[in-house]
């Protein structure tokens, strides 16, 4: 008996749940969990089912597709460790949290490599037995540097996700398009507040009473990709912006790891620059 995650994204119409569940029934699949959502604004139907049985994946996909509107998307995924590459700069907290989860067997992923523009974290990363590639940006044009980063990533096959664990450089459209829908970033503010550089300084300046962090897919508008997860903590006048930064790190790492877990479990649909998360 295998498990399959079935992900459907279609224009809504009456009877979709019926049609899909009929197919599960005909394929003798047992539904372990099932989530649906219809976005009425866009008339979009989303469904994620975890089913158990033994099927030919291609046949299952074909059977479901045959019953759905023509522009639907159907994925059938067998749970297995996904391949991720982590990008970082100098801060350890978010990367470290992922490393520890990986080490304790909690992370459903293979970390293929860590790629950074500094060698600051090389020593700790390699202790975990994970390859570390430093691609210094010093004396390089942005495009030139990024091409080297792309090459470093492309040295690995089958990369499912690229996790920006406080990678502190802005990515060009070329980079984003190269790894479309695969890049997860942690931004150290409660988006859309404090887009851009040093959000903690901005937050301190504004005198907010809550700070936060946002994990999102990266698209070509800085910090404006689809939001996956957000979390906040309370602060007060005693916090300097550096205190906010220190406290904020605990939120950043938790939010990034939570978003990564959702991605690894195939729980995220993206549409209209938003996410549906089951």
């Amino acid at each position: 008996m295998n498990q399959y995650r079935v992900l459907i994204d279609a224009n809504d119409q009456k009877g979709l749940v019926h049609k899909v569940s009929s197919i599960f029934y005909n394929f003798d699949l047992n539904i372990l969990s099932n989530s649906e959502f219809v976005d009425k604004d866009s008339n979009k139907f989303f469904m994620r089912s975890v089913v158990e049985g033994a099927v030919n994946k291609k046949e299952l996909i074909d059977s479901i597709e045959a019953l759905l509107p023509s522009d639907s998307s159907v994925k059938v995924i067998e749970p297995k460790k996904k391949n991720i590459i982590i990008m970082a700069t100098k801060e350890l907290h978010a990367l470290g949290d992922i490393l520890i989860r990986h080490e304790s067997g909690e992370l459903d992923a293979n970390i293929l490599a860590v790629v950074s523009n500094y060698d600051a974290l090389e020593s700790i990363v390699t202790k975990f037995g994970i390859p570390y590639t430093t691609v210094s940006h010093v004396d390089l044009e942005r495009e030139e540097h990024e091409q080297k980063v792309i090459d470093a990533i492309n040295a690995y096959d089958d990369v499912d996700y690229i996790v920006l664990a406080k990678y502190m450089r802005i990515l060009t459209p070329h980079f984003v398009e190269t790894f479309e829908d695969k890049i997860i970033n942690i931004h150290h503010s409660f988006l859309p507040a404090f887009i851009g550089a040093n959000p903690y300084k901005q937050a301190h300046e504004r005198g907010v009473k809550i700070i936060g962090a946002t994990a999102h897919f990266v698209n070509n508008n800085l910090d404006e990709g689809p939001i996956i997860a957000q979390e906040v903590i309370h602060v007060n006048h005693n916090y300097s912006w550096k205190d906010m930064q220190k406290s904020g790190r605990d939120v950043e790492k938790v939010v990034l790891s939570r978003a990564l877990k959702l991605a690894l479990e195939d729980r995220i649909f993206v549409y209209n620059n938003k996410t549906v998360i089951f």
Copy 2:
């Protein structure tokens, strides 16, 4: 076109979603939302669907029941205002929150009456045009007093829920059985911590850093009924137990109103002294 809330509670078996959604399809019902849960420990299947169409309710129920295991429960509910009676003692905050929601049209309920063992809140309640019955417990045996309360409630027909909005007297098994599965209470602690009298004093004594409130259905074990909703706030050494009580009131009223809303929307299943909430 009407809306119907379909609530199913059955022993789990393969194909339940398929079977039920087939019936919806055959009855030409459009699924607006759908939630399922299988409790593996008890092999129980729960499903709540909101569907749209025009059916004979009895026929729909019969059709679903015919396809389910024999000891299943099927309810088809047309959304309408439910009838509630609120019980209180002297504190206004939780009752007041419900009154304001009712006044602003936000509460999907008719408040038939407020019943209290004191007349302290009569003046404010009657201003809202809601009947107020004082049933003093002075000089009465517990059973005698309760019988008068039961009579006061039974003066109203079709009571869906009895909401204990800080009703500060312990109820006997007789009362609980009389209104089985209908009584919602707010307990001013994060259950199961601090069962019983003056939980804020207990919390202060213990030196906790978080206090909370719990809304639950009432059964015959004090503060041990199925939990519907819980919420907490942070406190510190500066809080006397009276400060905790004051701050706690904001949590109590929010949690009670949230639980009431879930009940009014038929979102709660109870089993094994726990709740499934869709």
Copy 3:
């Protein structure tokens, strides 16, 4: 024995706590609580002490001022109910929360009146025995309407705070200056995100996973005054913007009441468009 709240705002220098506490000692005042904060960026010292004893307020102020840098501010306040006027439009939740707190004796304030541009809330407000003034904006220029509102407020003496409990009209600089430092607003977003109109629609559009509310003093930049309190709740893709609005109301009312309480207890210092809250 009386209580006094002593509020000091001065340029920082060595020995300020020593100097002030010496004076308390010399005046035979017992310190019940004491909070200080030094903002290093601006070299500003803030102190709030609650002391107990029997003094001539003028003498106490003079003695403290004599020891402080010349541009310091010293206030000595005897706790008593402050006078507030509440402004609202059509929504009851935030106003209602304050009315219930007032009714239950929890609010340390006299509500002099409610002023609104609609009569929608008149019936409920007057039931609480509170005067209600409708100042319709229909067919009036903004300035003309506002002058009538100002007149309605000025019909009352000694107004300490004007509480905008979802007053949905933009105020002119003239209004803000007329009641400088006295206007507390609740904005239905987690500022600085979603400034301006319909923040819930903006939040829904952006696909955020958390929504919030912000209580702040009003200055002449829309939604950019000093923040007093903020709170958030988690949302998900199931929330339409109207669902966000409904859930958001619970946050709005809690945050506004919390901010009002801080103001009534003289716990807020404002400087640099920020607040220090003891």
Copy 4:
């Protein structure tokens, strides 16, 4: 110029702040921050000041003590890295979080060693360059095993804190007394709910909607020592107890690290089995 943390714990009397701040003034010390609290129930005064200057510590302590009631406690601490020993069993998350903080320079402590009853974590700990001692409990009486643990700890000098990062064995009174006031534990529930074994199973059984974790000093009543920090997360019926355990780990590690930070910064006073935290 040095910094000093001055911690005072005395029976309350009028003028304590005045007296202590006078001494700071006389010693030419600048107050960087200052917190006081009076527990009225026990008439206890607590004060923590961070001051800057250059003094003879002994003289400063003597001067303060001379002015305070005779049974007062005065500590003057120069900030420096404290020495900690971490005890663990097989779970990595809480220990790993501390290791990463240590590695990134964020933790104001030297980790002298990790002591465990299993060797499961040895490989990862030693990669961080930290000594690891396995003291197996197999075939040993509890007392015998504990004496070996005590010996392993006593192999190190000047141990400031012993951090139980999910050390899953109950400690005897002898152990607790040996390291009195030095042992910080993380309990995986929101105490006082679910004391003892497998709190997640207990929480699941009870059907709570929130789970939590509690960091506390260890005394001789299991899970009943003074609480330092608590945090919670929301759960629902979808969570099996193992899901609660997984999600709970994120809370556990955050709470333990937060409590450890408070201890390392000398922010915690303990009295009456409670904590005052500045």
